[in-house]
Amino acid sequence: MEKPPPPEDSGLLSATVVAGLKSLGNIITPALTKLLIANALKLTLHPDATIAPVPELYASNAACAKQSEYAVVTLLSLATKHGWDGFMLRQQLDHLSINSAAIEELTRVYEDNRKDLVLRQLQLGHNFPHITDIQWRIACDVKSSTSDCSTGVASFYINLGHFRPSSGERVTIVEFVCNAEELQSLINRLKEIERHCSQMAVA
């Protein structure tokens, strides 16, 4: 169902990217090309992870290496964005007359990691605060500055939040109080959503 994009789509790549791709396997040695692509992929998939630097990449002709890194990352993201398959990618690269070993390596890496790349780019975009964690406590007042006796009713303190992906720190999105009836109606409301979802899934 993915329609193959028309041939003028090779215009998706900017001149810098094309130049960077062209130096793969030429100015940059085949061995280094392999290393560079692998490193770029790793850093693309795990932006937060600490990955050991590869100084030999920049030993000679560092400007070229930096440009090619940019080119590889851009190529992979664009291919993922437009949902190309490996064949499509190869076609595009052939069109640009790039070193054949580099094409081979790029296509292989792309095909092997396509799923992870899609997952990575799926996360990117505008979102409202996303709730993944819920905490609660039951509290009851004993005495307060305005009243001598307790209300005699337990209330629920509900805290909705999520964890920051980089640090794992918990972030509160919203916190509120309800009594038993309000909680029951909240649960009913949420169940209504769930019911709707399961109806959508079946119907």
């Binding site: 932006p47 560092a62 070229c64 940019y70 997952l119 996360q123 990117l124 119907a203």
Partner: protein, 562 residues
């Protein structure tokens, strides 16, 4: 209840035509129950293998089939009480609840999916999307919850790490060596070779994202040249400028140099010369004009003369020929006559030939015309026939549709009836609710009154008690009265207690009655009989087995002995 049963029967028959509709659910045999439930479950969850029928023979097999079906129902989300007994010893109430649940769970898409099988290729985008959404929702509903920090690992396969959200925040000033190395200055090249951080270092900050940055930069570079770019502007000017400059500057240059080097008199001289030349030129032009006019006049005359010649020449020729003919008139006349004759003969043969040629053509034309007409008539005739057939088919269809319409309206009637009845029920329930509220109100009122009266009585008693106690010290009668009062009080409280006890007992009795009614509905007796029968069968089976075992053992002993 029988209407509910009818609906259930209807649905079951639709799911599996092999299920014979019976009058009531109570008449369902265990075999039918198993068949119905397994058909429904098969529809709800086509991926699960379930036994289709209840084996007739051994109890153990029957038991395992029933247990697995019960398990299946529980997996499908049935919350009621269910076990092997539901299938082996069915009772109407439980069975009705179970079947109603299963029918509610039946996928509604079934009909639509069957219709759609034939034209699955022509799915629109919308349908594809809907299908995708459905799949996604189904998987998400099924997948167990995983804490957020474990999602990037555990749920990967199902594409379910939707909770990790990264804002699309590009690093808007990503510095990467540009495409053309020749354009870079030495300093820039040196910077990129040594100091410049690579893109990963540039996007390491948590406020920007690598992919967002590269996508942004790529788009910027692709669309950037359309914006006013300094490089472009410059080259454009250079191209346009050269042809413009010399044009303007040359004449100015010349005049200025000549003006400064020589004195005023040559200038005047030259201007005089120019003046002279100009007047000369004018006179020449005038001359030329007059010559041109003369030329035009002569040309006109020439053309007239050639025209005249053209007109005169054919006349001249004619005259020449006539004079030739007239010179030897006799002979020439004969010649002319012979010529005439031969021409006439020639013409006749030509006409004859034409006639000969024309005749077959005319004939074929005729035949073709008739053939065409016949064909036309034939066409019309067949057309009429076709139309007649169509008409017949249409009338037939119309009749059929009428019949279905009639039957549909007939089958619709019960639905109306049902809704009417449902409305009636709802009305009754409302009425009952109002009654219940009224009764509750009354009860509350009564309670209140009771409380008031009780409190009053208490106070009254206290007061009387006080009063009598005071006077009891002095008066013997009063003492007796006080004792009597105490006794009265005790007796009364005993009475009250009795009344409340009676109330409690009545309540319990009612509850028990309700429970008894409930139990009666389950017709335990027959089930018990069945169960005892089954147990006996089991025992028999066991005895048989034991007999066999002992026989085998005996045989072994005998073998060992011998």
């Amino acid at each position: 209840m029988d209407e509910v049963d009818k609906i259930i029967m209807h649905q079951l028959h639709q799911v599996d035509p092999a299920i014979e509709p019976t009058e009531e659910l109570a008449e369902f045999t265990p075999e039918q129950v198993v068949r119905a439930v397994s058909s429904c479950l098969g529809e709800i969850r086509p991926d699960v293998q379930l036994p289709r029928s209840l084996p007739g023979g051994a109890m153990a097999q029957r038991f395992s089939v029933a247990s697995s079906l019960a398990e299946g129902c529980k997996d499908a989300g049935y919350r009621g009480d269910i076990g092997y007994q539901t299938f082996l010893y069915p009772n109407a109430v439980e069975l009705r609840r179970l079947l109603m649940f299963l029918i509610e769970q039946l996928p509604r898409e079934r009909q639509a999916a069957e219709d759609g099988v034939g034209k699955s290729q022509s799915l629109s985008h919308r349908e594809i999307l809907q299908r995708k959404i459905r799949k996604e929702l189904a998987t998400q509903l099924k997948t167990p919850w995983v804490p957020q920090f474990a999602r990037s690992v555990g749920n990967r396969k199902s594409l379910g790490c939707s909770s990790l959200c990264i804002d699309f925040r590009p690093h808007i000033n990503l510095s990467v060596p540009s495409a053309n190395p020749e354009e870079r200055t030495k300093e820039v090249q040196q910077y990129f070779d040594q100091l410049a951080p690579n893109i990963f270092q540039q996007t390491a900050s948590s406020s920007v994202d690598l992919i967002a940055s590269v996508l942004h930069k790529n788009e910027l570079e692709r669309w950037g040249p359309e914006l006013p770019d300094s490089l472009h502007l410059f080259s454009g000017i250079e191209e346009v400028a050269p042809p413009l400059l010399p044009k303007v500057s040359h004449p100015v240059d010349k005049s200025s140099t000549s003006g400064t080097e020589e004195e005023v008199s040559p200038l005047e001289q030259l201007s005089n010369e120019v003046q002279e030349l100009r007047s000369q030129c004018e006179s020449l032009l005038m001359e030329r004009k007059s010559h041109a006019a003369a030329l035009a006049a002569s040309k006109l005359r020439e053309s007239k003369a050639t025209e005249e010649i053209g007109r005169i020449q054919p006349v001249l020729k004619l005259h020449e020929r006539t004079s030739l003919v007239l010179a030897d008139s006799e002979q020439n006349l004969n010649k002319l006559e012979a010529l005439l004759k031969s021409t006439q003969a020639k013409r006749e043969t030509l006409t004859q030939q034409w006639q000969e040629y024309r005749k077959p053509l005319l004939e074929t034309l005729e035949t073709l015309k008739t053939a065409k007409e016949a064909q036309h008539v034939q066409g019309i005739r067949s057309n009429i026939e076709q139309l007649e057939q169509e008409l017949q088919a249409k009338t037939k269809q119309h009749n059929e549709l009428n019949a279905t319409l009639r039957s549909a309206s007939q089958s619709l009637a019960p639905r109306k009836e049902y809704t009417r009845r449902i409305h009636e029920f709802i009305g009754n329930i409302r009425k009952q609710r109002a009654d219940i509220f009224k009764v509750l109100d009354d009860t509350r009122q009564l309670q209140k009154q009771l409380n008031v009266v009780g409190a009053q009585l208490q106070r009254q008693f206290n007061y009387t008690d006080d009063l009598l106690f005071q006077s009891a010290k002095h008066d013997l009668h009063a003492k007796r009265a006080y004792k009597l009062l105490a006794q009265l009080h005790a007796n009364c409280s005993e009475l009250v207690e009795c009344v409340s006890l009676t109330g409690n007992v009545t309540k319990q009795i009612r509850e028990l009655e309700v429970q008894i009614d409930g139990e009666k509905l389950k017709n335990v007796l027959t089930s018990l009989q069945q169960i005892t029968g089954d147990i006996q069968k089991f025992e028999q089976h066991i005895q048989e087995l034991q007999g066999q075992i002992s026989a085998v053992e005996q045989a072994q002993v005998n073998n060992g002995g011998s």
